[in-house]
Symmetry: C2
């Protein structure tokens, strides 16, 4: 009966920044030309500017998992003792990768929906011979965020390097790479960078490069030393993803124009508004104690499968919302905030959620969740004096 626009509202891929989408149309360039060298250098320099680091930043034609693997296969040795901080499906992925390369992980696990407290991590750092610590800045599967600063500053005092999966952390929380001692920081194109999947990147500290010198693990496609050397000269080792680099270049211009801090503030404000709306609707956050701003995981109402909510978002409204992953499937749904999201998106999502609850026989006051989100906007962006008539 009515038009339903397909709206990509997941925590990756995220909504595309239109000029970055259109920039892909210029991909009829060859990668062994001066035009490409200029593009590649500019893109890498913009990434460094946005990450506020002088560390090497290396793009890879891969999704985030490829960059995670590269950090293991290029910086460690068979049998290395490492600490894996695991608070969800992506923490578990670290465990799988380090085991695949024969490392020896100590796993610090939190229940789904919780973060691993920084104190638990720092207490383990005295473990003799510890060579590395792996964690998620933001655990996308649960919405929980880790205390990267405390962990980073503590790991910096040891011989271990800290490898941060910041794939959904970048652009949703402050990350002071050099100030906090973050040796490897991994990002992905399809997150706060507002472009399609297919590109990942890592920053590598001098301390991490020293680890690389003794690496004995096999790797070929993901050769960080070779890529870093080439990147300094404006080249990629293998055929690069020209369309996505053009897209990233356009997106980074936008991120620079608004400022990385504002991008983070935007996600945090939308997360705050989402928390307010969810509470007003009587629903519960899945990660109430350590909620990140990349994504808000919401528990389905008692007795209801979250898959029904996800399906009705799609079927009734065309909105693509994430279900839970693994054992969380059916129990939670996830509303994303990272990257190219604004209050217009959020107002629709909450209004749609209210109607979905209504359609499933749940008690809901239409407009009430939207009003809670609007109030967060009003407190942030409307001077108190003007809000005389506020509900």
């Amino acid at each position: 009966m009515h038009i339903r626009k397909t709206r990509l509202l997941t925590p990756g891929p995220t909504p595309l920044y239109p000029p970055a989408l259109h920039a892909m149309m210029a991909a009829d360039i060859h990668h062994r030309t001066q035009d490409f060298v200029k593009l590649y250098k500019a893109t890498v320099n913009d990434l460094k500017e946005i990450l506020v680091t002088s560390h090497d930043v290396i793009p890879l034609v891969a999704s985030g998992t490829g960059a995670m693997e590269a950090s293991v296969s290029n910086l460690f040795r068979r049998g290395d003792k490492v600490l894996v901080v695991s608070a969800g499906k992506f923490g578990e992925r670290w465990v799988q990768i380090v085991k695949a390369y024969g490392l020896d992980p100590i796993v610090l696990k939190a229940e789904y929906g919780q973060a691993v407290p920084a104190s638990e991590v720092t207490a383990k750092l005295s473990e003799p011979g510890l060579r590395g610590v792996f964690l998620q800045a933001s655990e996308t599967s649960t919405g929980a965020a880790h205390d990267v600063e405390t962990i980073g500053r503590a790991v910096a005092q040891t011989d271990a390097i800290l490898v941060v999966d910041a794939i959904t952390g970048l652009g949703t929380m402050p990350l002071d790479i050099e100030g906090w001692g973050l040796d490897v920081v991994i990002g992905g194109s399809q997150k706060a960078f507002m472009i399609p999947p297919g590109l990942a990147f890592l920053s590598i500290s001098p301390k991490a490069w020293r680890h690389a010198e003794t690496c004995d693990l096999p790797h070929f496609y993901f050769d960080l030393k070779k890529e870093a050397q080439n990147a300094r000269e404006g080249q990629s080792s293998w055929t690069p993803s020209t369309a996505l680099l053009l897209s990233l270049n356009a997106a980074l211009l936008y991120v620079k124009s608004i400022g990385m801090e504002r991008l983070v503030e935007n996600a945090q404000l939308l997360a705050k508004a989402t928390h307010a709306a969810v509470a007003r609707l009587g629903l519960k956050l899945f990660a109430p104690d350590a909620p990140g701003a990349a994504v808000t995981a919401v528990c389905a109402p008692d007795g209801m499968d979250s898959g029904v909510i996800v399906r009705e978002f799609r079927d009734r409204f065309g909105s693509i919302i994430a279900n839970g992953q693994g054992s969380m499937k059916g129990k939670i749904f996830r509303i994303a905030h990272l990257g190219y999201f604004d209050f217009g998106d959020l107002f629709s999502v909450i209004a749609e959620l209210e109607l979905i609850l209504l359609a499933n026989g749940l008690p809901v006051t239409l407009g009430s969740g939207v009003a809670a989100a609007q109030q967060v906007y009003a407190e942030a962006a409307i001077p108190a004096g003007a809000r005389a008539g506020r509900a």
Copy 2:
């Protein structure tokens, strides 16, 4: 502080259907090839299918005004007595065009915000020697709609032809071209057809073609006979807008897939929801007696310039909303429904409007307008039995 997506929400240009936007990328074709002939024939046939007519349908590289002019310069004679039904800025444009060509108009005028009653039009049809009647199906400047059916059926009984500017009427109201006797029906690409501006088209009845035989007005670029003859062979007289034809072709596939009736229903339902929201917020419709479904014109609150509302939509939220035109500027703002609009768009627009009213010190219960719009959705799309908890 926050991201503001630019959302094009005016009654033309309207939001673009993404696959139609992307289809323009295939424009590296030549127009004197079999590939183009195939495209042109398919596009004209799809237009005829959607308009449900066997009349000639002629695309023009022009905006809607060009097609309006073509209907005058190709079908009339110097000094012809015609009736112009004028209810706003576009009715006034008919008067300008017919005068520019030396026709002799009788102007039936309604106050802005009103439609000209069909009875007033039919009463004038006995005027001796009347050769044509011009009207807007939907007067975009005020949001008012005319009773095209009654007027069409009456004009069909006379020697005059009826020329309908349906630029925002198509896709927002039923228009039975052959059943109601609509001799010329004019459409534009950037309206319910969901693509950028630059293409217009007209349908021409056999009765209108008979008028063309005695035409003595100068025309060259807009030569409807020549274009119709060429269109039957899959060609355009002059260089066509290949990118926009590719785009229109993609949009028409979509319109056919949902059905023209559903597109109309969609606009009508969104208009109904907008009326409910506006009423709940204590605002007044500008055309309450004959509201069309293409666009809803809303009166600014007393003492407030509608330009402030339009500016705050843009500055606070990135939403591009139309102000009034001419003497209505500053008095009304217009919320569009024609083409690629959905409830997600509307929920955001209403939530944003509430915040703008709040920011300007007006009494508003946040979420209340959204709730009124949600209720219209719920009544249309949620079975009553499920709505136990409804507010």
